[in-house]
């Protein structure tokens, strides 16, 4: 049984998504080169991760029409790690203290 032939996208969409992903990658690189570190920059970078991951999952992997378990688990992963990145940027000392092997 073929469980793959259920396209939820069309080729035109795919072409546009590819260009969008390239532009967002270049934006991230520009931030890396130009911007000073800060909370807003961190949030923007993490948002770019989420958007890029969603585009790949929805359109390149075509998971939108597939098993909801796979779809939601994949999405959750790529929401979770960018969120942790922001939290670590906000609370590094607390995390360091919490994970210190020897007492301060």
């Amino acid at each position: 049984m073929n469980k793959s032939a259920k396209p939820t996208t069309n080729e035109r969409q795919i072409d546009i998504i590819w260009i969008l992903l390239m532009v967002m990658t270049l934006a991230s690189a520009l931030i890396a080169e130009q911007a000073e570190p800060g909370l807003m920059i961190t949030i923007v970078i993490c948002l770019i991760i989420v958007i890029k991951a969603r585009l790949v999952i929805d359109y390149f992997m075509e998971l939108k029409g597939a098993s909801p378990y796979i779809y939601h688990l994949m999405n959750a992963y790529f929401y979770l790690f960018p969120l942790i990145a922001v939290l670590v940027w906000l609370f590094p000392e607390q995390l360091a203290k919490f994970t210190q092997l020897t007492p301060y």
């Binding site: 073929n2 469980k3 793959s4 032939a5 259920k6 396209p7 939820t8 080729e11 795919i14 998504i17 590819w18 992903l21 390239m22 990658t25 270049l26 991230s28 690189a29 931030i31 890396a32 080169e33 570190p37 961190t42 970078i45 993490c46 770019i48 991760i49 890029k52 991951a53 790949v56 999952i57 359109y59 390149f60 992997m61 075509e62 998971l63 939108k64 029409g65 597939a66 098993s67 909801p68 378990y69 796979i70 779809y71 688990l73 992963y77 790529f78 790690f81 960018p82 942790i84 990145a85 670590v88 940027w89 590094p92 000392e93 995390l95 360091a96 994970t99 210190q100």
Partner: protein, 220 residues
């Protein structure tokens, strides 16, 4: 006048014989994603593999976060010493490789196996370009005195990117296998779940890099 009356009147005015419940149900269905719980792209085994790999990468990310919290100065200065252009080009190459894979799938679905093979060879070529750039980047690092033992940031950088690089290597092998199956006539427009499995694995490699690149090259 309640919503039900308005909906009934709209249905009457538009000449439709739909009842309110039918209209609401249709609206609800159109708003939801058309999920199919039985549809597992490729095969179940590849998803066990994909989630195992993502767990492995997840552990690398956890190590990154912990090391970052304990050595903030190293993680603020580290990305500045890396070759951002090499990382950016590799990101563009991997995203393009994912694009070539889905174009290959579309070509096969549309009954153009030769075009599908060409797209998939472009994917493999992109994978090779990625590996060459990564090798060059490591050499450039070593030339600038950046080694695994330089500090904790670079230890995380080398372990994470080297592990990812290995995945690009054997992921390319999966795509080459799919190419041989198309050429042999085993994957057709109507039946090519093996290609979908290889493609999903390849996209997972791209997705992992979508997180790795900003963590190591961009965030400070």
């Amino acid at each position: 006048m309640n919503i039900q009356n308005i909906t009934n009147q709209e249905a009457i005015l538009s000449g439709s014989s739909l009842t309110t419940s039918e209209l609401l149900e249709a609206s609800s269905k159109s708003a939801k994603q058309p999920f199919d719980p039985a549809l597992i792209p490729g095969n179940p085994a590849i998803w066990v593999g994909i989630f195992s790999e993502l767990t492995e990468f997840g552990l690398f990310f956890v190590i990154y976060f912990l090391a970052r919290a304990h050595y903030p100065e190293q993680f603020t200065n580290g990305p500045l010493q890396l070759h951002t252009v090499a990382g950016t080009i590799n990101t563009l190459v991997l995203i393009s490789s994912s694009y070539f894979v889905i174009k290959g799938i579309f070509a096969l679905r549309n009954g153009r196996p030769n075009a599908a093979v060409r797209w998939l060879w472009m994917t493999v070529a992109a994978g090779m370009v990625y590996l060459i750039i990564k090798y060059w980047e490591y050499q450039w690092n070593l030339g600038n005195g950046i080694e695994v033992t330089t500090n904790n940031f670079f230890a995380v950088y080398y372990y994470t990117t080297f592990n990812h690089m290995l995945h690009v290597g054997w992921g390319s092998g999966g795509i080459i296998w799919a190419i041989t199956q198309i050429k042999a006539g085993n994957y057709t427009a109507d039946s090519h779940s093996g290609l979908i499995a290889a493609a999903c694995y390849w996209h997972m490699i791209d997705l992992a890099w979508i997180v790795i690149f900003p963590l190591l090259y961009v965030l400070r």
